[in-house]
């Protein structure tokens, strides 16, 4: 008898968080907790609920509705019902509720729950706006400033409860994968809030230097700031450095690799968990949700570190910070441009010149500033050969400045550029490609450290 009772219990691991209601029905039916009559009754009630919702949706003016709209409303209803069932103490309780209460009642309770969740999500979002990090990362800023805001404006809990009308690009360390609608956004916001909480233990400029060391163009990357910071903090802890500054040198990383290579998988994982404990202690992190979140993030980070140790790429996992402001730079001043009238005269003269050599001589004689030269390359209707001759008279620094201001882009990337601009960039690229390798490297190095004003 005891065995029969056990087999009837639904394994909650088999239930889908995304389609909770339908997965409960499937499991309960398979375990014999719901009979055919129960199933038919529930299905009938779901259809009646759908019919009722469709009628309201149509404003009572149409008895039929497009299939895709009806399907969306049905998904929304099922999501709302599932939300309420999830809020019950356990799965068996949910099944008995399905038997006792009508689907309409359950839906109404779910709908009220959505309102509560929406309120809670808005509150967390307000907190996030307060503990937002100062970072140039575009996906982070746009997700918080615009992406999530749009959810609260566009979310329709009556007919599209299962949709997430938000533009969320920022990657969390623990992505939310098995939830939909308001549940998804609430979980995402909770995780983002905790990630911010952790990162706020570090100075914004230290995080900036760390991420700059990861990639100087990190502002355009889809990265998890929290993951980078936590990994760096673990690295500092391993190297017995102060965690707060996130400062670990390349030499220390090499030493760490040598040290960690000696551990097997299990003991390395243990060591990383130990380091995580030290990080929490050093940062005085008492918040239980944050400690749990970090705990949940560790498996992914452990895998990354293990992989890096095996592949000898630990310097790509533990990042040495780079201070961009300390990099030597070449300040480039374009010089005063000539008077507009003189410039027009020069262009007229150039357009009248028949021979390229004359044009080149004129440019050499009259053009004294980089700004004028740049304008002239667009206005004087020069062909590739003539433009190449102009490049020939320029020094490395001027070429480097041109590269910085007119970097070559493929046709797809350059859709917004004018034809003249595209042509100039192509000629410049062709010119650079023809130069000897050593000079190319010198020019690119200069372009890299150029501060164009």
């Amino acid at each position: 008898m005891a065995n029969i009772e056990k087999r009837r219990i639904i394994d909650s691991n088999k239930l889908s968080s995304e389609q909770y209601f339908t997965s409960i029905l499937k499991e309960a039916y398979a375990k014999g907790l719901l009979c055919d009559t129960d199933m038919e009754n529930i299905q009938m009630q779901c259809i009646q609920l759908l019919a009722y919702k469709c009628e309201i949706y149509n404003g009572g003016e149409s008895s039929s509705i497009r299939v895709e709209e009806a399907e969306s409303i049905m998904k929304s209803n099922l999501c709302t019902i599932g939300l309420y069932l999830k809020s019950l103490p356990d799965v068996n309780f949910a099944v008995s509720e399905l038997k006792k209460a009508s689907i309409f009642e359950i839906y109404q309770k779910g709908r009220k729950l959505i309102n509560v969740r929406l309120h809670s999500a808005k509150h967390i979002f307000d907190l996030i706006r307060k503990n937002k990090l100062v970072t140039p990362n575009y996906s982070y800023n746009s997700t918080i400033n615009e992406g999530i805001e749009s959810f609260f404006k566009a979310y329709d809990p009556d007919y599209e409860a299962h949709e997430t009308p938000a533009s969320i690009d920022y990657q969390l360390c623990n992505p939310v994968t098995d939830l939909i609608g308001i549940e998804f956004i609430q979980k995402y916001l909770e995780n983002l809030f905790l990630e911010n909480e952790f990162c706020r233990h570090f100075a914004a400029e230290d995080i900036h230097y760390l991420l700059y060391g990861y990639d100087k163009e990190y502002k355009d990357l889809l990265i998890s700031i929290f993951e980078q910071v936590l990994t760096a903090a673990l690295g500092c802890s391993f190297a017995n450095r102060s965690v707060v500054k996130l400062d670990i040198t390349a030499e220390e990383i090499r030493h760490l690799h040598y040290e960690l290579s000696g551990y097997n998988e299990h003991s390395l994982a243990l060591k990383i968990r130990e380091a995580a404990g030290k990080v929490l202690e050093e940062l005085n992190i008492d918040s239980l949700p944050l400690r749990r979140y970090i705990e949940k993030s560790l498996p992914g980070i452990i895998t990354n570190i293990l992989h890096a140790v095996r592949m000898n790429t630990l310097d790509k996992t533990f990042i040495s910070r780079v201070l961009p402001d300390l990099k030597p730079g070449i300040r480039f001043l374009s010089g005063a441009k000539m008077h507009d009238e003189d410039y027009r005269k020069l262009i007229d003269e150039l357009l009248m010149c028949r021979h390229s050599s004359d044009k080149l001589a004129l440019i050499k004689e009259k053009v004294k500033s980089f700004g004028d030269l740049e304008d002239l390359l667009f206005d004087a209707m020069l062909n590739e050969e003539e433009i190449t001759s102009v490049f020939d008279i320029l020094g490395d620094i001027e070429i480097a400045a041109l590269i910085r201001r007119h970097p070559f882009k493929t046709d797809i990337q350059a859709v917004d550029l004018s034809e003249a601009e595209m042509a100039l960039r192509l000629y410049l690229k062709n010119y650079i490609d023809r130069l000897p390798k050593v000079r190319q490297e010198e020019i690119f190095e200069k372009a890299d450290s150029l501060i164009v004003e």
């Binding site: 038919e40 259809i47 469709c54 149409s62 008895s63 039929s64």
Partner: protein, 158 residues
């Protein structure tokens, strides 16, 4: 969970049968078999137009509106309702859902009894097609090009 069509059908057939109580005074009665066939026609029309409906829906309304038409008698009753049902769902899409069920059925009834004098071909091919085009172009449903020509002539006189 899929939307169980058999359950919807059972309910729809019963509701169509109930209309007999109302239409009997006009000498029009549908058997259960004919009601089932009507539901089948509706299902095909709904499927081919990518729509879904609950209960007897529009059929019941069509029956109630058309049962007093002088052009419908017992010998063409079921057949006419079949055709009208198909037309209804087709033009529901063609009018981009801009017209309510009641207004569309009323328009069909007025045209059927009036200009079309009981011709289903004229109703579908001319009146409903013109009305749907008018709605799509932002004109009133009963707008006609003759009307526009008349207006132009009037303007021309002055």
């Amino acid at each position: 969970m899929g939307i169980s069509s058999s359950l919807i059908e059972k309910q729809a057939i019963t509701e169509i049968e109930k209309c007999n109580e109302f239409t009997a005074e006009f000498g029009l009665v549908l058997s259960r078999f004919e009601a089932a066939e009507l539901v089948e026609t509706r299902n095909i029309a709904l499927r081919s137009n990518g729509r879904i409906e609950f209960g007897s829906g529009a059929i019941q309304k069509i029956i109630r509106e058309f049962c007093d038409s002088p052009y419908i008698s017992m010998h063409n009753y079921a057949e006419t309702i079949h055709e009208l049902t198909e037309m209804f769902y087709y033009y529901k899409n063609e009018t981009l859902d801009l017209m309510s069920d009641d207004d569309l059925i009323k328009f069909m009834k007025n045209s059927f009894d009036g200009k079309c004098q009981g011709s289903l071909e004229l109703l579908s091919g001319r009146e409903l097609a013109n009305m749907a085009r008018n709605l799509r172009y932002g004109y009133p449903p009963d707008y006609s090009e003759d009307q526009m020509a008349d207006e132009e002539d009037e303007d021309g006189e002055y």
